[in-house]
């Protein structure tokens, strides 16, 4: 076990310990123990930084350290069966660990302010302690997922995150809407998890091409099997890797809220804002993407990347359209998250896994910044979330405004900021794939570029409506003031991390050629390190060729759409040269209806699928159980016995049970007897006598008289 492995094991352990401390003694500690969680995650951050630095010391794309042990072993001599779990540290997980611990530390810090009221007192007593307990548990699970070297512990952490998400969305538990949202989130992701679990079962148990079942969940074994072509067999006429890959992708669809299971994420904004930042923007939803990045070779061998790309593209475009009409500041960010996750999934589908992973990281940082900034705005506005009631806030809360503005520039794809670099790579890949390579898939680049424009448009709408213009609610406006130190420090740090130079080593992203890299020795470190030699070439050599050609036109096009989006947004919401209402009136009413109803997904799932199909079916089962099986069949049989009760029933119940067993065994409880057997045993002396006489007659006749 190397140092890095030991450190990696410690990383999820710190928050887990903090969780237990918080659960049991949290509310008795000073400051409700928020420092326990914060300290634990900070220790994890230190450990993760150590691993991160060690990654730079190696600076080797092939760097990987693994360690595993047998968790449980059910084997007998004839049938081997064991489950091995362990830790895998490579470049991808190091970066991810660093990002997650960093975000998490900052969000913990932010929460120490956000979860207190304006007098600095914890909200709602001990709930403050539980909040930090859940955050710690969540962080622990997320970190456990990252360091997993196998699908099994990955799945376990995955479900644990689902639990934390459930608990945290429903954190304001007096609200019915919060309870509904948490249930919806858990159940929707669970639908995806079922697919993931079935995929895992297939992966583990199905006999491969060599006739042997894989019998392992470890990535190393899976990669080895893929490379030796063991997945070249069919399941029900389909390529095995395709079936398994798509089932595993179901997990991503649920967790990363992709089409058609995207319904839960906007509702998940019922949770406290730091939770939205940590779980529903930066980390947990990105775990879905992380999963398909890990399983990329399987998807590739199965040839299902195009499907993945389409799902991502759909999600990106349609979520962006929804974001335009939202008025709740958090809902806008939620749809933007959906849209950006769509980007990541699309990038995986395009084979540009490096770009996808990079976008995952950059998005996590700037989206965390955006969410926390919005949290600061909400906090400053005394829990007002509607942007129509805001306006002109830049003077009141300048630091928050600055941070949010930087993050908005990043998400809109403005050069010099991280979003530009990662999004650019994705768009270039989409351009190469859909325009140069396979023109029948033109939808993917189209959706990609449209989304980029729309993103810039709605994000700047948010900025203009919130921070510029005249205040709409003077009461709240007057009271608004800059948030405290522990709340704006995280914003500043994350805004600083939204600079592109940190990811490319170049201020311009290499736009001006090789010479302008300012971080020596770290030229384009991200892509270099994440590129995995064992992953083959996505969509083939031609695609790589096209990728090269696509670089310049793709970048220019993305710059153009982003600037159009920003300009348009300025004209409509900043300068108000174009009326927003007239703009809206350009679209036919069915478009508005579709957007207002979220494309009827919620309506279909809840009103049709659950309320019209599923619940009636379940009620039918219950009634069937009660009326047919229970009362019909069983009591029917009992009624037959009832008919002969005068002779046989009394004989058995009164004489046998009552006389022999009860008086024999439970003589100590005569009155209890009365109440139990009242229906059978009436205490009537004459009836007993009658039974005795009847029995005598029966016996005599039976004996042949």
């Amino acid at each position: 076990m190397t140092t890095n492995i030991s450190l990696a094991l410690l990383i999820p352990l710190f928050p887990l310990l903090a969780y237990f401390v918080q659960v049991f003694v949290g509310k008795r500690l000073p400051r409700m123990g928020d420092w326990v969680s914060l300290g634990a995650i900070f220790l994890s951050f230190v450990a993760a930084s150590r691993i991160f630095l060690s990654m730079f010391n190696h600076f080797d794309p092939a760097w990987v350290e693994t360690w595993h042990f047998t968790w449980f072993d059910l084997a007998s001599l004839k049938t081997p069966f064991k489950l091995e779990i362990g830790v895998r540290i490579d470049n991808m997980s190091s970066i991810m660990l660093f990002m997650v611990t960093l975000c998490s530390t900052l969000i913990h810090l932010f929460s120490t302010g956000y979860m207190r009221n304006h007098h600095g007192e914890p909200e709602d007593g001990y709930r403050y302690a539980s909040f930090f307990a859940y955050l710690s548990l969540f962080t622990s699970a997320m970190l456990g997922l990252i360091i997993s070297d196998n699908l099994f512990t990955l799945f376990m952490s995955w479900e644990l995150m689902g639990l934390c998400s459930y608990l945290l969305i429903g954190f304001y538990r007096h609200k019915i809407s919060a309870a509904n949202a948490s249930l919806k989130a858990f159940m929707t992701t669970r639908v995806g998890d079922m697919g993931l679990f079935t995929g895992m079962l297939m992966l583990f148990t199905l006999p491969l091409a060599n006739g042997q079942a894989l019998g392992s969940f470890r990535f190393d074994d899976i990669y080895a099997a893929i490379q030796s072509g063991q997945f070249n067999f069919t399941i029900g006429g389909f390529h095995a890797a395709a079936v398994i890959g798509l089932l595993i992708f179901c997990g991503t669809v649920g967790k990363s809220a992709q089409f058609p299971l995207q319904v839960w994420l906007p509702d998940a904004m019922e949770g406290p804002t730091p939770v939205s930042a940590l779980i529903h923007a930066a980390t947990m939803v990105a775990a879905g993407v992380y999963l398909i990045l890990r399983m990329f070779p399987l998807l590739e061998v199965g040839g299902v990347l195009t499907i993945v790309a389409y799902v991502g593209a759909f999600t990106a475009l349609f979520a962006a359209i929804l974001a335009i009409k939202q008025n709740d500041i958090k809902k806008i960010l939620a749809y933007s998250t959906l849209s950006q996750l769509g980007y990541m999934v699309m990038a995986v589908g395009l084979g540009a896994y490096q770009a996808s992973f990079m976008h995952l990281i950059t998005h996590a940082l700037f989206k965390a910044c955006l969410f926390m900034s919005s949290g600061a705005v909400i906090y400053a506005m005394h829990h007002e979330q509607d942007i129509r009631h805001m306006g002109g806030l830049r003077k009141k809360i300048p630091i928050t405004f600055a941070c949010m503005f930087i993050a908005t520039l990043a998400i809109s794809g403005v050069p010099m900021f991280s979003g530009f670099v990662s999004k650019d790579k994705i768009l270039v890949a989409a351009y190469a794939f859909g325009i140069l390579d396979h023109s029948q898939h033109f939808f993917i680049p189209l959706a990609g570029f449209l989304t980029a424009g729309l993103t810039a448009f709605y994000m700047f709408r948010l900025i203009f409506k919130t921070f510029f213009g005249e205040p709409h609610d003077h009461h709240h406006y007057e009271e608004a003031h800059e948030v405290s130190f522990n709340m704006f420090v995280p914003l500043v740090v994350l805004a600083g991390l939204s600079l592109s130079v940190l990811f490319t080593g170049s201020l311009t992203g290499g736009l001006l050629g090789e010479g302008d890299f300012i971080l020596k020795g770290a030229n384009n470190w991200f892509e270099t390190l994440v590129t995995n030699a064992s992953f083959s070439a996505g969509h083939g050599e031609a695609w790589h060729e096209h990728l090269h050609h696509a670089h310049m036109p793709g970048m220019i096009l993305s710059l153009v759409v982003a600037s159009i989006g920003i300009t348009f947004s300025y004209l409509v919401f900043g300068a108000k040269k174009i009326s927003a209402d007239k703009l809206a009136a350009l679209w036919p009413s069915f478009v508005h209806k579709a957007i207002d109803n979220l494309y009827f997904f919620d309506w279909f799932y809840i009103k049709i699928l659950i309320q019209k199909v599923f619940m009636p079916f379940s009620s039918f089962c219950a009634i069937f159980d009660d009326k047919v099986i229970d009362q019909g069949a069983v009591d029917g049989v009992k009624n037959v016995t009832q008919a002969t009760k005068d002779v046989a029933g009394i004989l058995i119940d009164d004489v046998l049970i009552d006389g022999l067993l009860v008086d024999g065994v439970g003589g100590a409880m005569p009155s209890a007897l009365g109440s139990t057997l009242r229906t059978l045993q009436n205490g009537r002396v004459q009836r007993y006598l009658l039974v005795a006489v009847a029995a005598l007659v029966v016996v005599l006749i039976w004996r042949g008289f």
């Binding site: 449980f72 309870a179 249930l183 148990t205 089962c621 099986i629 069983v634 100590a668 409880m669 209890a672």
Partner: protein, 517 residues
């Protein structure tokens, strides 16, 4: 440690004797006596974990004596890994249930005597190696159960008790027929002489060589007997068409009895399958394997669907038991190492989580005097409990998430094992069963949402049956802590480190699997 199994099984009888001499009104003495006499078997069982030889699949701590010479019935007891696990579960739950029944007010002496008698029956079933002895214990258990439900139960206790009694009697009678058939055929050609009830000897006979004439039809002997025994155990499991006694018995039974019912009695059905059907009639078992798997899947899905529509909290949990026992059936129908061990572990795990859930239902019932998620007039019976009693809610969460298979808690391990074992054999069926995971989460979380979340609208039911808003909910009492903490700790422990528990039954489970493969 001579006769340790007899001590474990019969020690509570001393308690019954002692309780009989306790003067009236000294209820606390009765309770502490019960604690004492159930603690001793528990400690003995725990002590056995150090003496048990984990690498041997056969029976250990065997006791053998001739009991009824004229029928060649033996007093033959012994445990292998599987029964040892069940002994641990039963002794643990019996001990905890004494605390769960701490606030029994009516006929305290009678109640605890019955409870201790129940203990004798349960442990006897798990230890018996003679079919006759097995049957005797099986029936011994029936009687106290009948009274515990019928006397200390809820509003319709008589109906529930009679239903339980008739169902189980129906099963037992068929089992008795099977038992006698095996006994009388054991002297047949190249069989044994004299006829025997000894399971080990019966298992050596090749039963498929015999045929039965039944109203002119010639039936293969082993399959016919398999079906007879199956009916006996299926009622106990319960397998779906024979399950309707369960919701009634659970709803009407007092808390501790529900705990034992779900925690131990249901397992006896599965245990019976594995010990009797699988061991004695392996060929018939193979023949019926697919049927068993299909029934398991029906149990899982149907139980979950029924649970979804329940308006009574305890009924919901009862149907969830039906659903969870389906995993056991599916796991044991496939004859793979993972499936079989998953089924056995699932028995234990369900014993813990269902026990916890029933305990918690009882805790709510004690405080609010009703169990209606939705009352008869359509209002929410509970709601927002989390705000008033966070501790009860937290305990519920542990039980619920253990039950719905959250990783890190025990249910996940066994369900994953069952699925891993079952998938290579029955792909479609297992995929359908995976729906159960979804449905389980759906009904449990929906229940959690209605009962614990949202605004506080909990109702209290008074003596006259009217509901009115509840005030404060009293905190958890010490005896309830005593029950909940060990269960919660075990749930977590098995979820994280299952191997020590698996080691107990691994070898014997694999022996069963390999004879059937």
């Amino acid at each position: 440690m001579n006769c340790v199994l007899s001590w474990i099984t019969f020690f509570p009888l001393l308690g019954i004797l002692a309780i009989l001499f306790v003067p009236k009104g000294k209820d606390d003495i009765v309770k502490w006596i019960s604690v004492g006499v159930t603690l001793v078997p528990l400690l003995l069982a725990i002590k056995l974990t150090t003496l048990f030889n984990y690498s041997v699949g056969g029976f250990q701590f065997v006791e053998k004596a001739l009991w009824i010479p004229s029928l060649n019935v033996e007093f033959h007891m012994g445990i292998d890994g599987m029964s040892f696990l069940m002994v641990l579960l039963a002794t643990l739950l019996s001990f905890l249930c004494i605390f769960a029944s701490w606030n029994i007010k009516k006929q305290v002496k009678g109640y605890f005597s019955m409870f201790l008698l129940l203990h004798v029956g349960m442990l006897g079933v798990f230890c018996a190696l003679d079919f006759f002895l097995f049957y005797v214990f099986w029936e011994v258990m029936l009687l106290p159960m009948y009274f515990l439900v019928g006397i200390w139960g809820g509003e319709r206790k008589e109906y529930a008790a009679i239903k339980f009694f008739l169902y189980t009697l129906f099963g037992s009678v068929l089992m008795l027929v099977g038992l006698l058939a095996l006994y009388f055929y054991s002297t047949g050609p190249n069989g044994l002489s004299p006829a025997t009830f000894d399971l080990a000897q019966l298992s050596k006979i090749n039963w498929s060589q015999y045929t039965l004439n039944f109203f002119g039809m010639t039936l293969p002997f082993d399959k016919a007997v398999w079906v007879l025994l199956f009916m006996g155990f299926a009622v106990k499991v319960p397998i779906v068409p024979f399950h309707t006694w369960l919701p009634w018995a659970h709803v009407q039974a007092p808390t501790a009895v529900s705990v034992i019912l779900a925690g131990v009695l249901l397992k006896m059905g599965i245990y019976g399958f594995l010990r009797i059907n699988y061991w004695l009639l392996p060929q018939a078992t193979q023949y019926f394997a697919t049927t068993l798997a299909v029934m398991g899947v029906i149990n899982i899905v149907y139980g979950a669907l029924c649970a979804m529509a329940q308006k009574d909290l305890k009924k919901l949990v009862a149907y969830s038991s039906v659903s969870h026992m389906g995993y056991c059936l599916l796991g044991m129908a496939v004859f793979t190492a993972a499936g079989m061990q998953g089924a056995i572990l699932q028995m234990f795990n369900h014993g813990l989580s269902a026990a916890m859930m029933f305990m918690l239902v009882g805790i709510l019932y004690d405080r609010l005097h009703h169990r209606a998620i939705v009352t008869t007039d359509g209002k929410l019976g509970f709601g927002g409990i989390a705000q008033k009693s966070p501790i009860i809610t937290a305990a519920w969460m542990v039980a619920v998430f253990s039950s719905l298979g959250l990783p890190g808690l025990n249910g996940f391990i066994s369900e994953a094992m069952v699925f891993l074992g079952a998938f290579p054999v029955y792909k479609t069926l297992t995929s359908v069963a995976a729906l159960g995971i979804l449905l389980t989460a759906a009904y449990l979380l929906w229940m959690v949402q209605r009962v614990f979340l949202g605004p506080y609208v909990a109702l209290h039911k008074d003596e006259s049956g009217h509901y009115h808003p509840a005030g404060e909910i009293p905190p958890i009492r010490w005896n309830e802590w005593v029950v909940l903490i060990p269960l919660a700790v075990l749930c977590l422990w098995i979820g994280l480190f299952p191997q020590p528990l698996i080691n107990i039954f691994k070898v014997s489970s694999n022996m069963i699997t390999e004879t059937l493969r």
